[in-house]
Amino acid sequence: MNLAPSDRRHLGFTLIELLVALGIFLVITGAAFTLLDSSQKHYQSESQVLTSFQEARLALDQIVRDVNDAGYPPPTFASTDPTQFASTPFAWSPNYPGTPCQIGTGAGGTCGTPGDFDLIIETNPNPKDPSCAPCPVQWIRYQLQLPPLVQVPTLMRGMAPKFGNNPSGAFTGANALVPFVQNVVNSPAQPIFSYTCDTSTPPQSPPLPCTIATTADKSPANIRDVIVTLIVAAPVPDITTGQPRVVQLIGRGRRVNPNQ
């Protein structure tokens, strides 16, 4: 039967045509959704990295600011009340405020704090706050805690009013350390805190890394710079490689206040 050309337009598609079209459609949409899914995962992964990056950056800013302010007000403000001035820019343990310990790295040195992953800053962050008069000097502590103390390696931060002779024991109860940066993956070979110490012997030289300074110089009271290296991992590894995604930030805080 021959159909007139006008009738041929109303015949529709054959089954084969439909199947081919459907197949092509499925392939294309499948590819598109795969691409979309991949993009979404990448986006989430990047977001998490950025979140980690932002947390680390804020943390670094805060640490550097605290270090810059360390030792305020200094001992030359001499009060009879030791809670009103910083005896030293950086508190130490053991023997605070007696003979300072020796700063080391790894298992070296005699300091419990300051160390590679522990730092106690002595300062008055807001001396003119009208809501607390007189506002006492605070101990501000940064300490890396590892599982099982915490779920993931976490840099903790806390503030405690300066009181007594045991700064490392002051962070309990209401002054307990709280999580500051999570997923900190610094290794012993990559300490969070490293230090330079002033040199006391003339001629006055630039500060040296405390670990190579003289015995007399490598004292917590003598710290000039705190170099902060924060390596933070995103909560989820890279979707393609499976490797942890990390950001590494390096900053330097310089103590300006005199130490005596």
Partner: protein
């Protein structure tokens, strides 16, 4: 068609995600850069002011903006702050105006209940707004203003010594090794800087600063003379015909007129071993004090801690020539005036004269309220300084002579006289009835060959006809004449905003 639109949509989503991600990252990095940049901009302001507070600085306020700070070292009142402003590109910086772009809101917080910010307050321009730096094709540090003011216990919200009475008063705070409100030492100044970047980042940083005194040998005697076991003994020869010439370590008073313990009249110091050698050195000086008629009247003019003539051995630090030489170098670096004989102001080689010194210290602004530090790197002859000669008024401050010091009894000097180097004092003129109020320290550390291995014997040799009234120990003038090197940072603090 539909598929194309769908794919385009997907690509757009991915592209937007990437743009957002990179934008966030840039923003974070930018924030950190801003934070660091604004911090150092504020520090630049603080450091500029700290440097310009030193009168010896070429850009000191004393040189560039006379009258900006109280004259003569008078204290700067807490409620009368002054500002260094650093406008960029024609902007207006008026921190005293609450309606301005960069108001100083911090002042009213610190001085709440004490005073309000004077409007307007005195101001000076930063070095970046002055020639030659204002001609640079790039802007300087982006701090907007730096405030300088005195502080009190109340403004610091801190109880300072010596009373520690838990009462925060409004008395200016001073620094003498510790903060105090007993007018001891130098005034503490608060320096506050605001920096603002074009993106809006801003920071306020604050120093407390005070001038640091240069460490000098302690003045335990009205006249101190060096000598040593391996060098030579000190030599002293008083004007033998002058019955009123006196060296007195007693009668000392502080600046408020309160009596202070007596000091030694003439002290001998240096590395001696054995009592015998010390006694010989002391007796050698005593022998230079005349005992002409009536009897021992002249010797009774040398009074202090011990029986007259009070000549004693002193135990002092700085026992080597190199230690004293280091002090000399420190003083030279921070002196108001350094005269090198043989220069244009001293045409005769090797010796400076009274007009040279007078011209230099007058230019430096010397007055009783502004004692200066003057160094003569060589010989100094002050003959004809006072009445009967040039008629110059008294000198005030620290005078360091590294060569021979030729004194004239018509010279009146209030402060510290150091003759360290050749360690020789003499005279050529005779007339006059003036006195040195403060302390005189003479040490021989050098000869023609250079620095000596051991302290040499200082020499103070006046001829018999010299008049004058001698030396009177005076703690007040010693304190006022204490030279300072720089403004030390007593504290640093970032102010939360």
């Amino acid at each position: 068609m539909l598929i194309s639109i769908f794919i385009l949509l997907l690509i757009s989503v991915v592209a937007i995600a990437l743009v957002v991600a990179s934008g966030t990252e840039s923003s974070l990095a930018g924030n950190y850069r801003s934070s660091t940049g604004v911090y150092y901009a504020a520090v630049a302001g603080l450091e500029e002011v700290r440097a310009r507070l030193r009168p010896q600085d070429p850009n000191s306020f004393k040189n560039t903006d006379s009258g900006f700070l109280p004259a003569g070292g008078a204290p700067l009142a807490s409620c009368s702050p002054v500002y260094v402003i650093n406008p960029v590109g024609g902007e207006t910086v008026a921190p005293w105006d609450p309606a301005s772009t960069y108001p100083d809101t911090e002042f009213n917080q610190e001085f709440a209940g004490i005073c309000t910010l004077p409007n307007p307050s005195p101001r000076a321009f930063s070095i970046w707004n002055r020639a030659p730096l204002n001609g640079l094709p790039f802007p300087g540090p982006l701090y907007k203003w730096v405030r300088i003011n005195g502080v009190s216990e109340k403004s610091l919200n801190l109880d300072v010594g010596p009373a520690y009475d838990n009462f925060k008063d409004l008395t200016p705070v001073y620094y003498d090794g510790a903060l105090n409100n007993a007018n001891s030492g130098k005034q503490v100044l608060e320096v506050t800087a605001l920096a603002v970047l074009p993106n809006g980042s801003q920071k306020i940083l604050q120093y407390l600063v005070a001038p640091v005194p240069i460490t000098l040998p302690p003045f335990l005697a009205a006249l101190t003379l060096s000598g040593s076991q391996n060098g030579t003994d000190a030599a002293f020869h008083a004007p033998a015909n002058n019955s009123v010439y006196a060296v007195k370590g007693d009668g000392d008073q502080d600046c408020n007129g309160n009596p202070l313990p007596s000091k030694v009249a003439i002290g001998i110091y240096g590395p001696y071993q054995g009592v015998g050698n010390l006694n010989n050195a002391v007796n050698s000086v005593k022998s230079g004090i005349p005992s002409f008629p009536p009897s021992t009247a002249a010797q009774s003019n040398y009074t202090g801690q011990g029986a007259w003539p009070d000549v004693e051995h002193l135990t002092l630090p700085f026992q080597t020539p190199s230690q004293l030489d280091a002090i000399v170098q420190t003083i030279v670096q921070s002196a108001d005036v350094v005269i090198t004989p043989g220069s244009a102001t001293s045409p005769t080689p090797y010796t400076s004269y009274a007009p040279d010194l007078h011209a230099a210290v007058t230019t430096a602004g010397m007055s009783s309220s502004y004692p200066v530090s003057a160094v003569v790197n060589g010989n100094l002859d002050v003959s004809d300084w006072g009445a009967g000669g040039y008629g110059y008024a008294p000198g005030y401050g620290l005078l360091l002579v590294t060569g021979t010091f030729t004194y004239d009894p018509d010279t009146n000097w209030n402060g510290i006289v150091l003759v360290i180097g050749q360690g020789a004092v003499g005279n050529t003129q005779h007339g006059g009835s003036n006195v040195i109020n403060g302390a005189v320290f003479v040490a021989k550390t050098r000869d023609a060959s250079g620095l000596l291995p051991d302290l040499g014997g200082a020499s103070v040799m006046f001829d018999a006809l010299m008049q004058g009234n001698g030396i009177r120990y005076n703690s007040c003038w010693i304190q006022k004449s204490q030279p300072t090197s720089s403004y030390q940072i007593l504290s640093f603090h970032e102010i939360s905003q």
